[in-house]
Symmetry: C2
Subunit: 376 residues, 2 copies
Amino acid sequence: MNPVTFEITHICRQSGARTGILHTPHGDVETPMFMPVGTQATVKFLSPEELYEMGAGVVLANTYHLWLRPGEDIVDKAGGVQKFMNYHGPMLTDSGGFQVFSLADTRKIKEEGVTFKSTLNGDMLFLSPEKSIQIQNKIGADIMMSFDECIPYPADYEYAKKSMERTLRWAARGKTAHTRPDSQALFGIVQGGDYEDLRDYCAEELAKMDFPGYAIGGTSVGEDKETMYRMVRWSIEKLPENKPRYLMGVGAVNDLLEGVSSNVDMFDCVLPTRIARHGTLLTSHGRINIRKAIYADDFTPLDDACDCYCCRNYTKAYLNHLFRTNEGFGSRLMSIHNVRFLIRLMEEMRTAIKEDRFADYKKEKLASMQFDERGF
Amino acid sequence: MNPVTFEITHICRQSGARTGILHTPHGDVETPMFMPVGTQATVKFLSPEELYEMGAGVVLANTYHLWLRPGEDIVDKAGGVQKFMNYHGPMLTDSGGFQVFSLADTRKIKEEGVTFKSTLNGDMLFLSPEKSIQIQNKIGADIMMSFDECIPYPADYEYAKKSMERTLRWAARGKTAHTRPDSQALFGIVQGGDYEDLRDYCAEELAKMDFPGYAIGGTSVGEDKETMYRMVRWSIEKLPENKPRYLMGVGAVNDLLEGVSSNVDMFDCVLPTRIARHGTLLTSHGRINIRKAIYADDFTPLDDACDCYCCRNYTKAYLNHLFRTNEGFGSRLMSIHNVRFLIRLMEEMRTAIKEDRFADYKKEKLASMQFDERGF
């Protein structure tokens, strides 16, 4: 029995977009959903209670970071990452592959795995499909990711093909290495760069391995939006309908709308928390930079359409003050707002899908929100 | 009618220590009490709800800091500091005098007031009794403090006398300048260095001015503990029994016990939050430095005798991880713990007083807690 299962609850008659429920050992979550990132077993500045209140379902943690600190054995001894950080909802760990990818200067990729330099202390480290799964088994999240190679964009066809084939072999090796299939679900990752036949092939081969869920990898690596949307559509085409799809590292407003259009069910991104800490807020009237002097005596909430703890209780003037004085409570309040903004966006999308008007909703949303082409 | 009044509820038959209730426009608070410091209109990392939950009554804000950022006019426009920061309990502002004192290198003290350099941008600034009260009136806390000169220790008799007499004149000028006596209470501050006759005289003169409360100033400026306790006792001797006494800037465990012995009702200190951010925690078993490697796999709470949110939900191993990874949530959790520790200490003291066993309690507490001579 798979510990994580997926159920489609509605398909929008106007757009084909879908809602669903992801059943996990730590509870059910409605899809499409946005997953906040808790890199080091903490969503920066926020408590689990704040995450529950804002409607966060799955929270992501980073295998690479937890491997380095505190080490997977500590998390294992704590009883898993949820007990360690006191988050009672579902969690997901990435494979470490993306962090390795981002260290292009120092890494060496071989069939066996990847050798690279620690960003913490310069030590030489080695990650392989087996090692990644072993670490993720100890971290103990509900959902784990296959160890893959995330290639840059653009990449030539031959390299993309070779790498994708290796990613498939790594997926199979990870599956074999997985020691807790009854309590943790392992997802496969579709790679293949910007090549339709490679994406097709990768998805088909992964589908044969029968993973309980599939991610789309290798996007948000420098490609333009149209290319990214194409990669997503190609990846999904050959994936089984009844399994959840997860678009990794994507959280811009336009990308979320487009992803849901293409039947993506899960998204994660550091964007809302990272930009919040720099004073950039997502609102129903567009992007706000709270450090601006005009907000110093603006006693209205960040977003009059928002129901978050920050908007219910604090003014732009106070946030401007906290930002200018570099107070942690400002990062906390603004992170709450930005994450809630994206979670609320997903709630709205689910409602629009259930009411068979997602195509209209998407069009209106894109027209009414004054974000730039980056989607924030 | 004074906006802030004080009522003695019990005098310990064993020790003479007292409990009371401070009535303020923002609610009643039991004394003796510890007041957390929210320097820039935020108790670093903490929400008002967390402060309520840990039993915080009065929260202190710093006039000097709010004057510089965001400026008293912004706080005034917000409807006062409580509305600005969304804290519904009572608040107190200091006068800015202590911050000016700590800038000994750049300041010039005259009868009119003090000229000094801004710590933010080097601008020349001027604070006087009138200016301090004007700022505090705009900040709008329930309790304001007279602008005083805090002299260093040791100080020669002549200087201590001259300065204390000026502080008395400044207290009278501040009282005259106070424009909101119906909604904000102004406390006087006893100075006089380590000279009994000066402390006596200052207290008597302030008492004649009939302030609704009195602070003991000029302590914690380098003197040894015995000297400090002596200053406190001398200051209090001539103060009216039925008015609250506030020992400024004091929050070490032994000092709180000693202060309550001497009939001090109110204390404040940045100590619990500042040391928490550096990983130093106050527990019923003594001081803990959370960065130590032995805590990396210690899955017990910080303090098994503590009822705070941190101790109810998190382990030393998790706090060690958050500290080592420099995560704001660690500062948040550890600040909650340390402030709650001192608030709980005050609760215990009140209970011991009401049960007429405060002398025994104090003795046992000092013997059983493994803090060093600094009291933390």
